[in-house]
């Protein structure tokens, strides 16, 4: 399931290379004749097209995956009719949405109603500039990578409030206010988690952060010291809230607010909101993978060294990029899967509980963990094997306990279906 999507995105991202090569082949020597002030934007546009292709494919795949995951978690089959196991169902839905009428309520603020989906999408799409796929396959390694994510990620809230306000619908406005409150408050734990990683890596750049974590698995920032898993959990929780995913899906709580801030949106405008949501899902998961799970690094030192040693060996370079691409997309897709899994595990929480979790649990804990990490970094620069071992030992207890609980439950469910033999 995961690998199908990986292969597809693999092809798409490589397309950026082949597109550039195709342009070159087409023009040959005449390439120099194109003024570079035209050439640059054109090539950047090629990057855009690749990324929009990736987002579309990812959204199609993720929506199908979401349906399948939720169905199987409830012992249903999910979509089965269109294509193999309903694989083409999302495409059919997309086509349906394309043909849907665009309805703007009479009393809406028409201009803002029109602008809102644009701002929401424009607040998510540029984030893909810094999302790395492999050493060579990334749009641009911005100097200020993580800070860029923190800043541009904040723009989405504006679009959400705009949508809710412009609709002149009570459900929309309530949803938008909830969304705004939730999105802004969870930016603080998110920012503190970014700070911790920047502190450890000494750089904002995504590629630098990944290079710091190469080598064995124990180099991942997740295992840096016993406080890092706290930061990771806080980051993941906050990113769930930022994506408005369950259990933080209060802004669009179907059972109470119809559809939240996009109640009055239909047709393509609605699908743009949806696309932005799924794109944001991938972005936060990929960034979590970069920050804590070593990015594209496999965590096996000899393999990494073998892949990196590609001097004069173009085939190995391609192989290395492919492996890294598969690794980082798999890590991100795993986190996406966990997001979907949580949706069907945890009930939606109330607004006061959301505020409680953010301001009274995540904020103090993340702050303490950040200060502790900086103190540790002061005493043992560059990490320490003892601390890593300690981290793994301490955190394996809750992890194993959780695994046991999961195993008990799954085995219990499976046993129900086993015929009793009589």
């Amino acid at each position: 399931m995961i690998f199908g999507g990986t292969m597809l995105s693999n092809g798409l991202v490589f397309a950026r290379y082949s597109l550039a090569e195709w342009i070159q082949g087409l023009l040959g020597d005449r390439l120099e004749m194109i003024p570079e002030w035209i050439l640059f934007p054109l090539l950047m546009l090629a990057g855009c097209l690749v990324i929009i292709g990736f987002i579309t494919v990812f959204a199609l795949f993720a929506i199908w995956m979401e349906r399948k995951v939720s169905a199987h978690m409830q012992c249903r089959l999910g979509p089965m009719e269109v294509g193999f196991h309903g694989a083409l169902q999302t495409i059919a839905d997309g086509v349906k949405l394309l043909g849907k009428e665009d309805i703007v309520p009479r009393h809406a603020d028409k201009l803002l109603h029109y602008l809102a989906p644009i701002i929401v999408f424009a607040g998510v799409f540029p984030l893909f500039v810094v999302v790395p796929f492999s050493e060579k396959i990334l749009i641009s390694d911005i100097n200020l990578g993580l800070f860029f994510v923190a800043a541009v990620g904040a723009v989405e809230v504006v679009g959400v409030i705009m949508a809710g306000w412009a609709s002149n619908n009570k459900w929309s406005l309530f949803g938008a206010m909830r969304a705004a409150t939730q999105l802004v408050s969870y930016e603080i734990p998110l920012g503190l988690a970014f700070l911790t990683i920047i502190l450890l890596a000494g750089s904002f750049s995504m590629v630098d952060i990944i290079h710091q974590q190469e080598g064995w698995l124990s180099n991942w920032f997740l295992f840096h010291n016993p406080f890092m898993p706290i930061i990771f959990l806080s980051f993941f929780t906050a990113s769930l809230a930022e994506c408005k995913r369950a259990p933080f899906d209060l802004p669009e709580a179907e059972s109470e607010l119809v559809s939240g801030f996009h109640t009055e949106y239909s047709g393509m405008k609605f699908s743009i909101f949806f696309l932005a949501e799924y794109a944001a899902m991938y972005v936060v998961c990929a960034i979590a993978a970069v920050m804590f799970l070593g990015g594209w690094s496999t965590g096996i030192k000899p393999l990494e060294a073998w892949l990196a040693d590609s001097a004069g060996n173009p085939m190995r370079e391609v192989l290395s990029n492919t492996v890294h691409l598969v690794v980082i997309v798999t890590k991100s897709m795993f986190l996406v899967f966990v997001q979907m899994w949580l949706r069907w595990t945890l009930p939606r929480i109330r607004l006061d509980q959301i505020m409680h979790v953010c301001l009274k649990v995540l904020l103090p804990w993340t702050m303490v963990a950040m200060v502790a990490t900086s103190a540790i970094e002061l005493c043992w620069p560059g990490g320490n094997m003892v601390l890593t071992a300690l981290t793994i030992v301490i955190w394996s207890i809750p992890l194993l306990w959780t695994l046991k609980a999961i195993l008990d439950m799954t085995v219990g469910i499976f046993l129900k279906f086993v015929p009793s033999g009589r």
């Binding site: 950047m44 855009c48 929009i52 009393h107 424009a122 998510v124 904002f204």
Partner: protein, 157 residues
């Protein structure tokens, strides 16, 4: 990192931003206009309120608690923004071998910065500004005051 290279990076962002805007406009106003039907209907344009005729405008007044949350957020947002430059130089300044004087100094500086703001967090926490549902005694005080001053148009979420 040279200036030109920096511009190159952000030119990418600019192209992505413009592309996102154009992409959405194209989808909303061009492609779907060609494909979708447009059937005028007076009822269709009404605000959706679960099938009932909608009552009043929805541009209503909100509760004060939203403001307090946004306030706490803004203060801590600025704090986090202040700490980014500190975080990025921390590795350089703490010295190669742990515990150099500069390193301790830089650490303490940020620790004091955080501590002062932590005091603020504890203050608003203790005064109950972070409680979404107010304690029953605070609610009683509120109710009494509300009776004295007429405020009828609040919508509570």
């Amino acid at each position: 990192m040279t200036m030109a290279s920096m511009y190159f990076d952000y030119a990418n962002v600019a192209v992505f931003f413009v592309f996102a805007v154009v992409f959405v406009i194209l989808n909303i106003s061009v492609i779907s206009v060609i494909l979708r039907p447009t059937v005028e209907n007076d009822q269709k344009d009404t605000t959706y309120e679960c099938g009932e005729p909608s009552v009043g405008s929805s541009w209503v007044r909100f509760d004060m608690r939203f403001y307090t949350v946004a306030l706490v957020f803004l203060i801590f947002d600025v704090e986090v923004a202040f700490l980014y430059p500190w975080a990025v130089v921390f590795k350089d300044l703490r010295g190669a071998i742990g515990g150099s004087a500069t390193g301790v100094f830089v650490f303490l500086e940020a620790a004091i910065f955080l501590l002062i703001l932590f005091v603020g967090l504890i203050y608003v926490w203790k005064r109950g500004d972070l409680d979404w549902v107010k304690s029953s005694s605070a609610q009683e005080v509120d109710a009494r005051q509300r009776q004295m001053i007429e405020a009828k148009d609040e919508v509570r979420l």
